[in-house]
């Protein structure tokens, strides 16, 4: 633990990750990760490629079972987790419309033999409206741009009205204008739906300015703080770059990260 890592104690967190270890085959992906996410926060989960961001997201949503430790997610009854995986795992030619994709977000709450009702349709169009995609409801998913697809993915993830939304590298391949619009949508949704948001990204230039707290992870949590609490943004950027550079050589810059041994940083992990 460092000075920049918050203690894993708070009254009613929505997510509590306690001493989690995850191995992907032989490789260590997460090493004794402890993390508390408070309700209503917008968290930027950052770190170098292969640092374990995707693994941590998947562990929180239950796709990966930790080898050691515990993850507790406390959502109110009937409130599912909203999850937006990396876009590369979505077939761009899948034969569905934007509205069909959003409807998929309701399947989990439709019971054993799901049938679409008028209320479901209203919620689908409401979700599409929230992300500014209502007029594109009938377009096939393959005909949408990267930014439009991401908005549809968010509409799918929020249509079941979750209290927790996790997004994995959602701005990859999206241009600057679409990225700005994307963060504006997330801010609007957060206010309108009382969402807690966890966004994994390696985009050091943009994400810290958009979130309440930054969690910097590379196998373990190195930094968990509000962006303004980090000495200054330039330092953080520098440290992130150096950290990325130095980690490959088994060193960590002490300016940001303290109370660790140099040899702890030598083990690499892959994003799964």
């Amino acid at each position: 633990m460092t000075d920049m890592v918050k203690p894993a104690e708070t009254e009613d967190p929505i997510v509590r990750v306690s001493h989690v270890w995850v191995y992907m085959g032989e490789a260590l992906a997460l090493k004794d990760v402890s993390l508390v996410i408070e309700r209503g926060k917008f968290i930027g989960l950052m770190g170098p490629n292969g640092g374990g961001k995707t693994t941590l997201i998947k562990t929180i949503v239950g796709l990966i079972k930790p080898d050691r430790g515990e993850v507790v997610v406390r959502c109110p009854a009937g409130k599912a987790i909203g999850y937006v995986p990396q876009e590369e795992y979505i077939d761009p030619d899948f034969p569905v419309t934007a509205a069909d994709v959003v409807e998929m977000g309701l399947y989990g709450s439709m019971g054993t033999f799901p049938r679409t009702t008028g209320e479901h349709r209203a919620r689908i169009f409401e979700a599409l409206d929230m992300v500014g995609m209502k007029k594109h409801a009938a377009r096939s998913i393959g005909s949408l741009s990267g930014g439009e697809k991401q908005r549809v993915s968010i509409a799918r993830a929020i249509v079941a009205r979750p209290s927790l939304l996790l997004l994995d590298e959602p701005t990859t391949g999206v241009d600057a204008d679409a990225r700005d619009a994307f963060f504006q949508i997330l801010r609007d949704l957060r206010g309108g739906l009382a969402l807690t948001i966890v966004l994994a990204s390696h985009d050091i230039e943009v994400v810290p300015a958009q979130v309440d707290e930054v969690v910097c992870i590379n196998q373990r949590v190195f930094v968990h703080a509000a962006p303004e609490e980090i000495e200054d943004v330039a330092d953080f950027r520098s440290a992130y770059g150096c950290e990325f550079e130095f980690l490959a050589h088994g060193k960590i810059p002490h300016r940001i990260i303290g109370h660790h041994r140099v040899d702890e940083a030598g083990e690499g992990g892959d994003d799964a």
């Binding site: 569905v96 989990g108 930014g147 241009d175 679409a178």
Partner: protein, 275 residues
């Protein structure tokens, strides 16, 4: 000509049985293509020969033994593909050849059934009985009913299994259910198109439909239409020119695919990039 054809009892049975299995195979082909499990379908269908051979050798009902054997192989290959240490294509390749070899050996050991081998491999509509029609109806209607009930869930696991899991869907159950349904309909189709050719009808209808339409509802309808056109044209050509019926049906389906592929509006669509 058409009246002559339709007046023949064996042809009537072939037509009824053909409609049942073609519609069901076309529906299944939608998920086979979306989930990219065409090779798995081929592996399961070829294992049917061993299932039939077990029935022949031990004097049991061949449909029952083929169904059970195919379902076991489907579940085994499905399990290996998800959890095994052997790669899926390798597991299917081994199963594909191993079960075919087992089937041929068992039939040879029995000594008296080699003449039937060709009809199991490539179909023989002359051998379709009223009992076979009842069985086809049972297998196909059960499959269509289960697909209808779980259609949305199957669609979501085909779209993205991770999202389906986070939504709380029983992804593994649905995956194995689909494989068992494929195994059942393969067994029901043996007399129409045969073990070797049935895997073509597990792919071609939906693959053809996806050349025409980009949204799943019309894709499903066009898949069924492609299956039925292939069936009717194939049976008519088979009767007229005295050709093997199963092979002619599959050739018609292939021809439809290549025509649609050549004229496809989907193929001309440019990929969309950027924001």
């Amino acid at each position: 000509m058409l009246e002559d054809m339709l007046s023949l009892p064996f042809f009537q049975r072939a037509l009824i049985g053909g409609i049942l299995v073609t519609v069901t195979l076309s529906l299944l082909s939608f998920f086979v293509v979306l989930r990219r499990i065409a090779f798995m379908g081929a592996g399961i269908s070829h294992s049917a020969l061993a299932g039939v051979a077990i029935g022949l050798v031990f004097g049991m009902n061949t449909t029952l033994t083929a169904t059970v054997f195919c379902a076991i192989i489907a579940l085994l290959v499905g399990y290996i593909s998800r959890r095994g240490r052997v790669r899926e294509d390798v597991a299917i390749g081994i199963t594909f050849s191993g079960t075919m070899a087992l089937g041929v050996t068992l039939i040879a050991v029995s000594g008296k059934y080699m003449s039937n081998l060709f009809s199991y491999l490539f179909g023989s509509i002359l051998t379709i009985t009223t009992g076979d029609i009842v069985l086809m109806a049972f297998y196909c209607l059960a499959t269509v009913a289960l697909i209808a009930l779980f259609f949305k869930h199957l669609l979501l696991i085909s779209f993205n299994e991770s999202i389906a899991r986070v939504s709380g869907l029983p992804v593994d159950f649905l995956h194995y259910l689909l494989l068992v349904l494929i195994a059942m309909v393969i067994v029901a189709s043996i007399k129409l198109v045969g073990i070797v050719l049935v895997s073509a009808l597990l792919v071609l209808p939906a693959a053809t439909a996806r050349q025409i339409k980009g949204e799943y509802r019309p894709v499903l309808l066009v898949s069924i239409l492609v299956g039925l056109i292939s069936l009717f044209t194939g049976l008519a050509l088979s009767y007229t020119f005295d050709l093997p019926s199963g092979a002619t049906i599959v050739l018609c389906a292939c021809a439809l695919f290549f025509i649609c592929f050549a004229l496809s509006p989907m193929r001309r669509r440019k990929p969309v990039k950027g924001g």
